[in-house]
Amino acid sequence: MTQLLQLSISGLALGASYALIALGFSVVYRASRLFNFAHGELLSLGAFLMTALVEVMPWWLALAASACLTGGLAALLERTVLRRMVGRSVFTTIILTLFLGLLLRAGIVIAFGTDTRGMPTPWDTMAEVQVGDSTVLLSSLISLGATSLVLVGMHALVQRTPMGVAMRAASENQEVALVLGIPVGRVLAFTWFLAGATAAVAGIFLGMFPRSVDSNLGYVALRAFPAIIVGGLESVVGAVVAAFMLGLLEVLSQAYVNPHLGAFGHNFHAVFPYAAMILFLVLRPRGLWGEHEVRRV
């Protein structure tokens, strides 16, 4: 029982990072109708900026600065390259974002090198906390807390502020929003800024224990894909809920499923979410909360 609780908390902490990644993906998808494969590289860019900035300013300021810089870059990408792709096929946008990701990755390697770096934290990285009768890493709890803060803040922003109303209107129907006097271009840029900033925060928390920051950090975003798909591309809430489920599934299957599969179980938890996703999509091809497509031919 103790083990289950301990695993659940670390699963939820992993899920929290996935939730931030999934949030970025689905916010961008709702606004621009494209799946940003370059998102993973924004993640590692945020983490690398953090390791560099923390040397010249206090930790909290560095966190905010790297989130803002990454968000700014995301908005810039949207404005310069991806806005030209409006109305082009799904295929085109997939490829374009994939290759933008490759370019970003090369830029990160040029700017920061290939060395592995540790993520500095104001608390002791290996500090542990007693929850009931199980010990949990302090970093896990803080990342859970920070994610909850971001999620609540995001919810408040989208539901309660004029900018949030504009964002919802623009994702519903861009033309009508434009006619009603909503600056759709600026709303899109702001959405991408938010996505980039959450990606940076996710990257920073992922860079803490047990991972470290290197140029492969961006690949973690690939592991969040099942959550986004199972949650349903159009649904932000669905993606976040599914991301927490994904984190739990990954940690619990590592402990309880892998040992029963013999040699096949080695590292099986890394691909299990994908297998589960494929089977799940057979039952619900648009995910849990995805919109059912209505088309005119």
Partner: protein, 362 residues
């Protein structure tokens, strides 16, 4: 926007080589293909062989993505299956390559049709992510049975041309043959085998494109609901596309394995390989066989050039040579997508139209 010449009669539409220019083009291609291995150094012969592998792989992705419009990030999985099939059949059982090759395609096609059946209800991005999952699952399965695939350390891929004799020794293709005073080393033999396979693939995909199954695939790509209403069997068309595409991808993977002679799971069979093949068909122009061939050749021949150029550029030369090639080719692909959506095929159409209409502008 360049347009195709007007076709008036159905017979004209069916002709493979409708005009004098096409026939001249085929003759020119044929003579270049035959002369190439005698004119270039071993390094460029290897690049040529990789180009022929890429032609088969790109043509197979073109069937699935270009004709049927099913976006796939899982091409690397099918290539890996083909490669490991010939590796196991060759290394463990000593099968000759001409017997292992179709089987490699078969194994890959089987998986392709199964995943195609899963993918029938999925669209666009959902399908892309599922096929991406297929890459990870295939990697996992290949690494999980080290007694068959040798796991992480990789496996040798012997290329025999006949069965094992009584002593248990099979005749390998890697010895140099001398025919009429001309030396055929391994690379040259490989080149001619690959050229035949590539030509066969191009012929097959070109015919598929002109046949009713190909047209059904294109109807599914352009508007699947309308196609279904008009009586096109969309299920059948999608499954056919998955089957043909993964069969050819398996063959391409097998060719790649024979060329490399020693393969591991990752690299090369990861997401980056899928992305490379997508880059090829984008570079060439999505939806045409010409696009697959020209894109594959452009991509393979640009890679060594990009490494040379990348070494000379500031900042970029801090990267490894493979990364330099990736950076420059990514730039090319992004620019092509933004500026010339039809790719090399669009450039070719414009050039041809300019000369056809000369001295008038249009």
């Amino acid at each position: 926007m360049p347009t195709r010449p007007l076709v008036i009669r159905y017979e004209d539409d069916l002709k493979l080589f409708p005009g004098l220019w096409q026939r001249a083009g085929v003759l020119l291609t044929l003579s270049i293909t035959l002369a190439y291995p005698w004119l270039v150094s071993t390094r460029w012969l290897t690049v040529g062989n990789l180009g022929l592998v890429a032609i088969v792989g790109a043509a197979s992705l073109m069937v699935l993505t270009g004709f049927a419009g099913q976006v796939s990030l899982g091409h690397a999985a099918f290539l890996a299956l083909g490669a490991y099939t010939v590796a196991v059949l060759g290394a463990k059982l000593g099968w000759p390559f001409w017997l292992a090759l179709p089987l490699a395609g078969g194994v890959s096609a089987l998986v392709g049709v199964v995943i195609g059946a899963f993918a029938l209800r999925l669209k666009g991005l959902y399908l892309a992510i599922v096929t991406l999952g297929l890459v990870f699952l295939t990697q996992h399965v290949l690494l999980a049975y080290p007694e068959v695939t040798n796991g992480l350390s990789g496996t040798a891929v012997p290329m025999y041309w006949w069965f094992r004799d009584d002593a248990g020794v099979a005749a390998s293709l890697s010895e140099t043959w001398v025919v009429g005073g001309v030396g055929f080393n391994f690379e040259r033999k490989l080149y001619f085998v690959f050229a035949l396979l590539a030509a066969g693939t191009v012929w097959l995909t070109k015919n598929l494109q002109r046949s009713d199954s190909g047209r059904a695939m294109m109807a599914v790509r352009d508007q699947d609901l309308a196609a279904e209403v008009l009586g096109v069997g969309t299920t059948q068309a999608k499954l056919q596309a998955f089957g043909v595409s993964s069969f050819l991808a398996g063959i391409a993977g097998a060719m790649f394995a024979f060329q490399q002679q020693y393969i591991t799971v990752e690299p090369p069979f990861d997401l980056n390989l899928s992305i490379q093949y997508i880059a090829m068909i984008v570079l060439g122009g999505v939806g045409t066989v010409f696009g697959a061939v020209s894109g594959a050749l452009a991509f393979t021949f640009l890679s060594p050039l990009a490494e040379t150029v990348g070494g000379a550029l500031p900042l970029v030369n801090q990267l490894t040579s493979a990364q330099q090639a990736t950076v420059l080719l990514s730039l090319v692909v992004v620019l092509v997508l933004v500026l010339e959506p039809l790719g090399l095929f669009g450039v070719w159409l414009r050039v041809r139209r300019y000369f056809q209409a000369w001295p008038f502008r249009y």
